[in-house]
């Protein structure tokens, strides 16, 4: 936050921002900046930057120790992609100041306990990993780390606890091993073997009914979609078989070995996992998304195998970068592309795979869908010679595997691809997908192309789409969206309600009042006239058709016109749609301009969410049941209902609180 004083000739009424006597706050900003920026691109080597920074911080310790501790704990928690840079820094500080090292370890343990208490499990994993890498920096003694992991793994022996609780402690243990497995095994191999054996037996007996729900593809070929702990276990098994040799992780502390091995180490205090409570909420289990392997980039560096620990580390780090920088798309793209791979990994493939993993994540992506579209566009801008080709290859692969892809993921694929194309003049080699033209139109591939073209049309206009696809694709091209108004066609003049529709059109154009509208509609015969109706308000479907069709035809020019029409004739709508059948019938009639109009009708309470659900599942909509727009409406309706419930709930709580305060008086 800037604290500069504004000049005195600023606008009247603007409050002056006083300069706080806040030198300490400026120093804290400077320290935070120095610490956060170490490891970024620099003229000097990382080693010399770390050494310099350690010197600066050591000098500041007498005056700013608590601030430095707080900053270091925060970067440990929030910048896991730079884990080894900061463990090295802490190692250097510990070598120069043993007490500081001890206080840092204590602060980390306190922070870990706090995170677990408030259900911040993802951040807690980063802290555990940080502590374990501190073993490599001679800050923490290996046996005490093993002891902590023994307490973690013993959680699997607890009774009557959710499986996801045990999962987390096992994950925290296993996912630290790429960093510290070698050191721990060298010092305590018997204990480690016992831990691994206990872990294995837990993994064998745990339930995995969540896997089919979370898999993006149901097929195992070409890449099985593995349960995340199973995958990690295979990776650690392989690492152990390789005698814990791990070559991908950047370890700056190796350069300082001679200094660090002189340092005195600290013992972690015994760590008891906090007990399970009613309020504990653990992370959901996951399925690992894989779409590439080493055969996909035959010319470049070899992609690490699915069971290599390198693959795990790369994916973890790339996900962390996105989590850190999701709001800043240019920074995010730049950070992803500058991930240290030393040209030994096909980085573009990893990035594309990680982004699609998030986009297709079930039940929901970690961030809003449109972020991924824009991030991929930024990446294409930064790597125009290579990334677009990888993306095209990925699109082709996703298309080939549509038959076994989860429907929700297909929807996201449709949304992404159409939006992406709209940024690149809709250029695509559609002929490559001619195979879909010979299939039944309801099959996944032709359906996908059809929905993509529909979405492309919505982002542009009908003729544009006709122009961009080959003539052979016309069977899949969207229809020209013109409204069909049956009462506007003279050949329909024998239809009941036709003359009323004409009168109504003239009346509306002449700005008739609601009462005049009602009196015109009185002349519409009711096809349900024979039904006994005790209620007094007869449901007249023909009245609804004549009114709604006529009004929307007049207002069809644009969404704004239609919304104004809904607002102006709100009372007429509500009367005609009073009964449940009435509401259902209104929805049937607005078929052509649906999604947006339905949304407006819900918001203005002409129809309710139950009516929308009944309509979608009605027999009239059967032939369009699998169309994307239907599900867009349903999802949007459910979202609105959820928001409404939350809003009402909040109001209820606030009212209760007010009442409680009143009673206290």
């Amino acid at each position: 936050m800037s604290r500069r004083r504004h000049s005195d000739d600023s606008d009247a009424g603007q409050p002056h921002k006083r300069r706080r006597t806040s030198e300490p706050s400026e120093i804290e900003e400077r320290l935070e900046s120095l610490i956060c920026r170490v490891g970024e691109k620099s003229n000097s080597s990382l080693e010399s930057n770390l050494e310099g920074l350690a010197g600066v911080l050591e000098a500041d310790l007498p005056n700013y120790k608590s601030k430095i501790l707080r900053i270091l704990c925060t970067v440990a928690r929030l910048l896991p992609e730079k884990l080894t840079v900061y463990t090295t820094l802490v190692g250097l500080l510990n070598a120069r100041n043993y007490n500081f090292g001890g206080e840092f370890v204590e602060a980390m343990i306190r922070q870990l306990k706090e995170c677990l208490k408030v259900n911040m499990y993802n951040e807690a994993v980063h802290l555990v990993r940080f502590l374990s890498d501190l073993v490599n920096c001679h800050v923490i003694a290996a046996p005490s780390m093993v002891a902590m992991f023994e307490n973690f793994v013993s959680v699997t022996q607890e009774e009557d606890v959710p499986q996801v609780r045990c999962d987390w402690y096992v994950f925290a243990f296993l996912s630290s091993l790429p960093w510290v497995g070698k050191e721990l095994y060298e010092k305590k191999d018997a204990e480690m073997d016992r831990l691994l054996s206990q872990t294995e037996s837990y993994l064998k007996r745990r339930q995995k009914i969540h896997v089919p729900m979370l898999q993006v593809w149901t097929a195992d070929k070409p890449h099985p979609q593995e349960e995340y702990l199973d995958c990690l276990w295979s990776q650690i098994q392989k690492l152990k078989k390789d005698r814990w040799q791990e070559r991908h992780i950047l370890r700056p502390y190796l350069a300082f070995d001679s200094i660090l091995c002189e340092a005195l180490q600290h013992n972690l205090p015994p760590f008891t996992p906090p007990p399970h409570t009613e309020d504990s909420v653990y992370p959901m289990p996951r399925v690992i998304f894989r779409m590439f392997d080493y055969t996909d980039d035959p010319e470049g560096p070899v992609m690490p195998g699915s069971h290599s620990v390198e693959r795990f580390v790369i994916e973890e780090n790339l996900h962390c970068i996105i989590k850190s920088h999701w709001k800043e798309r240019k920074t995010c793209a730049a950070q992803l592309l500058s991930y240290p791979g030393n040209n030994k990994i096909p980085l573009n493939y990893h990035i594309v795979e990680v982004i699609f993993a998030e986009l297709f994540q079930l039940p929901s992506p970690p961030h809003i869908e449109v972020m991924y579209t824009t991030l991929l566009i930024e990446l294409c801008k930064l790597q125009p010679g290579s990334l677009p080709q990888v993306l095209a290859q990925a699109t082709e692969m996703l298309y080939m595997r549509l038959d076994t892809m989860n429907t929700t993921c297909v929807d996201r694929f449709i949304n992404w691809f159409s939006h992406h194309l709209s940024n690149f003049q809709f250029r695509w080699s559609w002929e490559d997908w001619s195979d879909c033209l010979t299939q039944d139109l309801e099959k996944p591939k032709p359906k996908f192309v059809r929905e993509v073209l529909e979405k492309c049309m919505r982002l542009s206009y009908h003729q544009r789409i006709i122009d961009i696809v080959p003539a052979s694709f016309s069977v899949l091209s969207p229809a020209n969206p013109v409204c069909i108004y049956k009462y506007g066609d003279e050949s329909n003049r024998s239809l009941p309600g036709y003359t009323v529709a004409l009168c109504l059109t003239i009346a509306i154009k002449n700005k008739a009042s609601n009462d005049e509208i009602f009196s015109i509609l009185k002349d519409v015969p009711n096809p349900n006239q024979d039904d006994d109706d005790d209620e007094g308000f007869t449901f007249n479907p023909l009245k609804i058709e004549v009114f709604v069709q006529t009004l929307l035809h007049l207002a069809a020019k644009s969404f704004s016109h239609s919304f104004s029409a809904l607002a102006k004739f709100h009372e007429v709508f509500k009367t005609l749609a009073e009964s449940d059948e009435g509401k259902l019938h209104v929805l049937r009639v607005v078929y052509e301009m649906i999604a947006v109009l339905v949304d407006k009708m819900i918001r203005t309470q002409i129809v309710d969410c139950a009516a929308v659900a009944n309509w979608i599942f009605s027999s009239e909509l059967a032939h369009d049941f699998t169309r994307f727009y239907i599900w867009e409406i349903l999802h949007s309706t459910i979202r609105k209902m959820n928001k409404h419930v939350l809003k009402i709930h909040k109001e209820l709580e606030e009212t209760k609180a007010r009442l409680a305060r009143q009673h206290k008086r």
């Binding site: 600023s10 606008d11 009424g13 935070e32 709001k327 809003i368 869908e369 972020m371 824009t374 566009i377």
Partner: protein, 158 residues
């Protein structure tokens, strides 16, 4: 002892430059600079510029709907001809949805044109009209280049 706060963050992670206010302030705004900025900081309305004259409300709805539910779209009109003149306002129900539009839709393409979004203090009647002397937007008065999507050459060139 050290005050631990597991909810503290770092300023580099707080950075949100796409959602910050730009330097632009509406010269026709009635009120002080301070009033305008206060409104901009809580606004759910975006100004959208560099549209093609042919871009429809439905296209805008489809694109901007990707960051959240849209409350209203108001097309910018030529003051004389009352036809679209290349800008619009998009109002969301929540600030968060508008912020996501600033982060992810600003600077991307609509009708093959890179569009620009900026915070708006709120629609008022009259603001839907271009302020250029000929009725369109000011930028189209003095433009030297030919832009097929915005009526060809600038008005003074024509």
């Amino acid at each position: 002892g050290v005050a631990m706060c597991s909810t503290g963050t770092l300023s580099i992670l707080r950075s949100d430059s796409y959602a910050d206010l730009s330097q632009y302030r509406d010269q026709h705004f009635r009120g002080t600079r301070y009033d305008q900025e206060r409104l901009l900081r809580k606004s759910c309305t975006l100004y959208v510029g560099n549209l093609s004259f042919y871009t429809t409300e439905e296209q805008i709805h489809e694109l901007f709907g990707k960051s959240g539910d849209i409350k209203k779209v108001i097309m910018g009109l030529d003051k004389v001809k009352k036809t679209a003149c290349g800008f619009c306002f998009v109002e969301y129900y929540t600030r968060g949805d508008a912020e996501n539009a600033m982060r992810y839709i600003n600077g991307t393409r609509l009708d093959d044109r890179i569009i620009r979004t900026d915070w708006d203090a709120g629609f008022k009647e009259g603001r839907q009209y271009g302020r250029g002397r000929s009725g369109g937007q000011v930028r189209d008065e003095y433009r030297q280049d030919y832009d097929a999507g915005r009526g060809g050459y600038g008005k003074t060139v024509q």
